[in-house]
C-alpha cells in the first residue's frame, strides 16, 4: 500500500437493509488533505461516510477500508472513533437527559473541572448550550456547531462531514467554516497538516469557506468524476448532475 494515504477505500460495495447502495468505490485521502463529494440526493454519499465510520447497518459486501494502513473493514464503530475517525452527523439524534457538556467531556476524555470544555464551547458560540440536552430544540445551525464542537473535542485525524452547511443560515455559515478550518488545521501550511477531511456537499456552499483539493461526483452509488472541486461545482451549477451522468470523460 501507499504509506502516504490516511484512508484507502478499495473496490467497496455496500448494502443497507439488503439493498445494494454503493458499487466499486475507490477513494484515497492523504494526511492533511480535504476532499469534497458532490452528488444528488440519494446518490449514496451519506452511506459512504456511515460505512467508513462503521455503523452496523451498513454492510460491506465487497472491498476493503484501510485507515493508517490498518484494515478497519470489520472494526466496530467505537474502535474506529478511537483510532481517529470522527463524523459530523447530518441529523443527529436527541438524547434526553444527556447534556452537551457530558459528550464534549467524554470526547476530550477530560476529568471533571477542566476548562477545555468551556473554552471550546466559547469558540463554537455554544456556552449556553453546554447544560442543555444534546440536540434537543437546537436549530439547524446550532446542531452543526454542536457537532463541530464535539469533533473539535475529539480531534480526529479524519473528519467525515456530512453536509455541514445544510440548514445553516448566512450568519452561521462563516462560523461553521471557521470551525471546520480549525478542525482540519487549515491554519498550517499543507505540508504541516495532519488532519484530513472528507466533506459531503449538496450545494457546494461550503467551498466558499473551506478549501478542498479534490472533488468527486457520486451518482447512483458510484463515483463518476474526480477533479478540481471548483471546476466540478461550476459544471454542476451550469448543467446539473445529469451532465455528470452523461459525461464522456467519466
Amino acid at each position: 500500500m501507499d504509506k502516504k494515504n490516511l484512508l484507502e477505500i478499495k473496490d467497496l460495495s455496500v448494502s443497507v437493509d439488503g439493498r445494494h447502495i454503493l458499487h466499486d468505490i475507490n477513494l484515497f485521502v492523504q494526511p492533511g488533505e480535504t476532499q469534497v463529494i458532490f452528488g444528488p440526493n440519494g446518490s449514496g454519499k451519506t452511506t459512504l461516510l456511515m460505512t467508513i465510520m462503521g455503523f452496523p447497518r451498513y454492510q460491506v459486501t465487497k472491498g476493503r477500508i484501510l485507515f493508517k494502513g490498518k484494515d478497519i473493514t470489520d472494526l466496530p464503530l467505537d474502535k474506529r472513533a478511537n483510532l481517529g475517525i470522527g463524523l459530523l452527523f447530518q441529523r443527529p439524534p436527541v438524547v434526553r437527559g444527556v447534556k452537551t457538556r457530558d459528550i464534549v467531556a467524554a470526547c476530550l476524555k477530560e476529568t471533571e473541572g477542566s476548562k477545555a470544555t468551556e473554552q471550546l464551547a466559547e469558540k463554537a458560540n455554544l456556552t449556553e448550550f453546554l447544560d442543555r440536552d444534546i440536540n434537543y430544540g437546537f436549530s439547524g445551525g446550532e446542531i452543526k456547531r454542536s457537532e463541530l464542537l464535539q469533533l473539535l473535542a475529539q480531534a480526529p485525524e479524519l473528519a467525515l462531514l456530512d453536509e455541514p452547511e445544510s440548514g445553516v443560515d448566512l450568519e452561521n455559515i462563516a462560523l461553521i467554516g471557521q470551525l471546520i478550518n480549525d478542525l482540519l488545521g487549515k491554519i498550517h501550511p499543507i505540508y504541516m497538516r495532519t488532519h484530513s477531511g472528507l466533506i459531503i456537499s449538496h450545494t457546494g456552499h461550503i467551498l466558499d469557506y473551506v478549501n478542498a483539493r479534490t472533488g468527486y461526483v457520486m451518482c447512483n452509488g458510484r463515483i463518476i468524476c474526480e477533479g478540481d472541486p471548483h471546476d466540478i461545482l461550476t459544471t454542476i451549477k451550469e448543467k446539473g448532475y445529469q451532465e455528470c451522468v452523461s459525461c464522456p470523460m467519466k
Binding site: 463524523l87 437527559g97 470526547c107
Partner: protein, 410 residues
C-alpha cells in the same frame, strides 16, 4: 385548617377494618408481628453499630458531620431513638412527644390521610404509632436539611409510622428522609403515614430515598395540603430491590397559586414489584402541578401512575411518565390520567415506554464511547430529572445518592 379536606373524623376510623387497599398486592399482615410503639429514647447516633449506620447512610442519612443538618430524627422499628434540632424556629421530635407538648396537634391527625383508607392506615392508627413531627415556625427557614431515618431492624416485624410535617406561614423546610432495613433477606413490612400541611407562602422540599430488601413489603400513605402561594417539591428515589411497594401520594392545592412538583425515580430489579404514582388535585385558582417520573426495569415489574385533576379555572398541570426496559424481562405499565371538571383548566401528559434507542447508543459510540459506556451515559441521562428548587447541598447529595445506586445497574 381548611374544610376542603373532607375526611371522616379519626375516632370513626380507628379500628383495624381489614379493608383491602385499592391498588397493589394484598399483604397478609397477620403473618408479621405487630407492636404498639415503644416510648421514645434518646441515644447518640454515633453509638449505633457500624452495620446499622452503613445501612442508614445508603438511604442518604449523614452521621459524620451533623453540622450539615438542621435536625435529625431516627426511628428504629417502632421506637424513636433520636431526635435533635440545631436551629431556632425549627422543631423535630417524636410525634408522641409533640402530642404531649401541643394540644392542638390532634386537629392535624388523620386530616390529610383518612385513617380508614385501607387496612394499612388502619393498622398504623390502631397501634399508637410513633413517627416524626417536623415543624417550621412562621417565617423560619432551615439553613441545612433536616434528616429523618425510618429503620426496620427486626425480622418479620411491621413498622408503623405516623409523621406530621407542618410548614407555618412564610416558612421553608428542607427534609431528607431515608427509609431502609437491616441488610439481609429477612421479611418485614413498613407502613408509613405522612401528612404534610403547607401554610400560606411556605415552601417544603421533601426528598425521600428508599433502600429496602427483596423481602420487604412497603405501603407509604402520604398526603399534602398546600395553601395559598405554598410550594411542595417532592423527590422520591428507589433503586434497590423490594418485594412489593405500592404508594400513591397525593397533594391538594387548596390556596391560590399553590404549586406542587413530584419527581420520582424508580428502578426495579428482578423480583421487585412497584406500583407508584403521584396524584394532584388543583382546587384553587392559579394552582400548578408537575409530575415527572422515570422508571427503569432490569427485570422487575413497575406500574407508574399519575393523576392530575383540575377543579378550578386557570390551573395548569403536566404529567410526564417515561419508562425504560433494560434486558429481556420486566414490565412497565404507565398510567397517566387527567381529569378536568370545568373549562379553563390546562392539563397535559406525555408517556413513553421503550428500550434505549440504538441510534442514540451509536451516536455516542461514534464519539469513542464503548457500547457499555454509551448505555450507562444514556441511562444516567434518563435518570437525570431536573430537580428544581433544592438547595445546592441537597441537590448534590441527591445526585450522589442516585449515582451510587446506578453502579448496581451495570
Amino acid at each position: 385548617m381548611s374544610d376542603e379536606v373532607n375526611v371522616p373524623p379519626a375516632e370513626e376510623a380507628s379500628t383495624d377494618t381489614g379493608k383491602q387497599a385499592a391498588l397493589g398486592d394484598d399483604l397478609d399482615l397477620s403473618l408479621y408481628e405487630s407492636q404498639v410503639a415503644e416510648k421514645p429514647s434518646h441515644i447518640d447516633p454515633a453509638t449505633l453499630s457500624d452495620k446499622d449506620k452503613r445501612q442508614m447512610m445508603s438511604a442518604g442519612i449523614m452521621f459524620d458531620d451533623l453540622s450539615q443538618r438542621s435536625g435529625t430524627f431516627i426511628q428504629m422499628d417502632n421506637a424513636p431513638i433520636h431526635s435533635s434540632v440545631k436551629q431556632d424556629g425549627i422543631e423535630v421530635m417524636a410525634i408522641s412527644q409533640a402530642l404531649e407538648k401541643y394540644d392542638w396537634l390532634k386537629d392535624y391527625f388523620w386530616q390529610a390521610v383518612a385513617a380508614d383508607t385501607d387496612k394499612y392506615t388502619a393498622h398504623v392508627d390502631c397501634h399508637q404509632s410513633d413517627g416524626y413531627f417536623i415543624r417550621a415556625l412562621p417565617g423560619s427557614k432551615t439553613l441545612y436539611p433536616i434528616q429523618a431515618c425510618l429503620y426496620l431492624a427486626k425480622s418479620r416485624l411491621i413498622q408503623d409510622v405516623h409523621n406530621i410535617i407542618i410548614a407555618e406561614e412564610g416558612s421553608e423546610l428542607h427534609i431528607i428522609t431515608g427509609c431502609t432495613t437491616a441488610s439481609g433477606r429477612e421479611p418485614g413490612i413498613h407502613l408509613g403515614v405522612s401528612e404534610f400541611y403547607i401554610k400560606k407562602g411556605a415552601k417544603v422540599t421533601f426528598s425521600m430515598i428508599h433502600s429496602w430488601t427483596p423481602e420487604t413489603g412497603v405501603r407509604p400513605r402520604t398526603a399534602t395540603v398546600i395553601e395559598e402561594d405554598g410550594l411542595f417539591l417532592s423527590n422520591y428515589v428507589i433503586m434497590k430491590p423490594v418485594y412489593s411497594l405500592q404508594a400513591y401520594p397525593s397533594a391538594r392545592c387548596i390556596g391560590e397559586n399553590a404549586t406542587v412538583r413530584f419527581n420520582s425515580i424508580m428502578v426495579a430489579p428482578p423480583g421487585s414489584r412497584m406500583d407508584l404514582g403521584s396524584k394532584v388535585f388543583l382546587n384553587a385558582k392559579g394552582s400548578k402541578a408537575e409530575i415527572v417520573s422515570r422508571a427503569i426495569t432490569t427485570g422487575g415489574n413497575i406500574i407508574a401512575r399519575g393523576y392530575i385533576e383540575g377543579n378550578c379555572p386557570d390551573v395548569k398541570g403536566h404529567l410526564e411518565c417515561r419508562g425504560l426496559i433494560m434486558g429481556d424481562s420486566g414490565t412497565i405499565q404507565a398510567i397517566p390520567e387527567l381529569k378536568g371538571t370545568l373549562a379553563g383548566v390546562d392539563l397535559s401528559h406525555e408517556a413513553a415506554v421503550g428500550k434505549i434507542a440504538e441510534e442514540e447508543i451509536e451516536y455516542l459510540m461514534a464519539r469513542g464511547l464503548s457500547r457499555d459506556e454509551a448505555t450507562a451515559t444514556i441511562v444516567r441521562g434518563f435518570l437525570n430529572v431536573d430537580i428544581q428548587g433544592l438547595p445546592p447541598l441537597l441537590h448534590a447529595e441527591m445526585k450522589k445518592a442516585i449515582e451510587t445506586s446506578e453502579q448496581d445497574l451495570f
